[in-house]
Symmetry: C2
Subunit: 224 residues, 2 copies
DNA sequence: AATAAAATTTAGATTTGTCTAAAAATTTTT
DNA sequence: AAAAATTTTTAGACAAATCTAAATTTTATT
């Protein structure tokens, strides 16, 4: 009835996740080099792994032509993303971690096997739709909420938005946002964009801030 | 100042835990065969691994003479047991798993790295002293509560006890106890021991039960 | 003490996942 | 279209963790 759930190693799972994210971002097959960069390894190692994943029918792989996830591979990748984000919610909401501290731990927890575990965790957390960074959490069927969000950099002067996500998940950026008093849900009004360096002057509550172009391109807001 | 915390693989950690349990039970150095039986592998594989663990100074190993944990190895093993039992408390108390369902999942979770994670989890669970099977949870310093418990099989007729632990952690035994209405804390009075087969007639609340010798030797009670 | 039995180790392979260096294929530039 | 640059694959090696089969050591038996 159902295809046998593939037995995957942690290494294989990490490749599948990387390929999924590249496909999602580039909108096309992932190149060996792109995967190597994402996995912080050599193209030769990637080729080795691609052969193994193709053998297991988790990817469609043609020599020199890059790689695409099969339906099966995609399911595994989405399930990993689901687990990763659920664990992040647990770590932040239940254990009191900061949003810049949870990535590495969730990276390990996502590989823990057990369908019932995920179901129970999801129940325990009251079926969150988004993780602590604003990223959507796929449900058990692999579907997730669409976010109608735009980069702060693309907000028009005079427009307002509420922080809804980050493009850069690094601890330094998240800590910078903490320091600026910016978190998920924080309302921002774009007052002015500086022609000189594309930095923006914004209003956050009663405060006024200057945010660099880099910050503007790494912060998502939902228009209000 | 402190010795560098040893970097251990999951496989190495599982060996250390097995050796710890054998030492604890037998009160002496663990033999290659005993470790092989515990790890469900061959003695040859064990020898290979013992060399590696000795290289890392996690065990004291002499050819043909068995193996003992060093102070370092013991610390790693106790920390794993701590993590395993804390995760079991989490799975049962927070996620609603039954006590016979949590072993395999905890077996994976115990290998997740992160000192802060363990501290936060322990806080979240309110510093439990015992896991769902009644086994003591080592604290951050590696010390745990002593249990003054005896096997139900050794209770004298007329004596009463409260269920405090199990000798057999298998799902079938735990499910049997569930079916009999026996759980941690349940009070039992030993009414009579049958000379014929060493089975015992006991009172549990208003009910009377016959428990086999095997059950008596697998169930711990604390004298009342 | 010699022999038999049991336990343990060694030798040689295998699998997974990785690497470097060299070769081959593809893409870009001229 | 040929040359140059880039990308990708192959070849050969290595470490971790395992295996089987054979050899060795220890322990038990006579």
């Amino acid at each position: 009835m159902y295809p046998p759930s593939p037995v995957t190693t942690t290494a294989e799972e990490n490749y599948l996740k990387a390929i999924f994210k590249i496909e999602e971002k580039e909108g096309k097959a992932a190149s060996t080099n792109a995967v190597a960069a994402a996995m912080q390894t050599t193209p030769a190692s990637v080729t080795d792994m691609l052969k193994r994943l193709a053998e297991k029918e988790l990817i469609a792989y043609e020599k020199y032509r890059g790689v695409q996830l099969t339906e099966q591979g995609s399911q595994v990748a989405v399930s990993l993303i689901r687990k990763h984000r659920l664990w992040e919610v647990f770590l932040v909401n239940k254990l009191g971690f900061a949003w810049d501290e949870v990535h590495d731990i969730a990276e390990q927890l996502e590989h823990v096997q057990g369908d019932l575990l995920v179901t129970r965790l999801d129940d325990f957390l009251d079926h969150p739709q988004f993780d602590p960074h604003g990223d959507p959490i796929p449900n058990a069927e692999g579907r997730w909420a669409f976010r109608s969000q735009i980069l702060l950099a693309n907000l028009l002067p005079g427009a307002r938005g509420a922080v809804s996500g980050v493009e850069d998940h690094s601890a330094p950026f998240l800590q910078y946002l903490d320091q600026m008093g910016l978190r998920l849900g924080t309302e921002i009004e774009l007052l002015e964009r500086m022609a000189y360096d594309q930095s923006v002057r914004v209003r956050v509550g009663v405060r006024e801030l200057i945010l660099s172009e880099k910050v503007g391109r790494h912060l998502y807001v939902k228009s209000l």
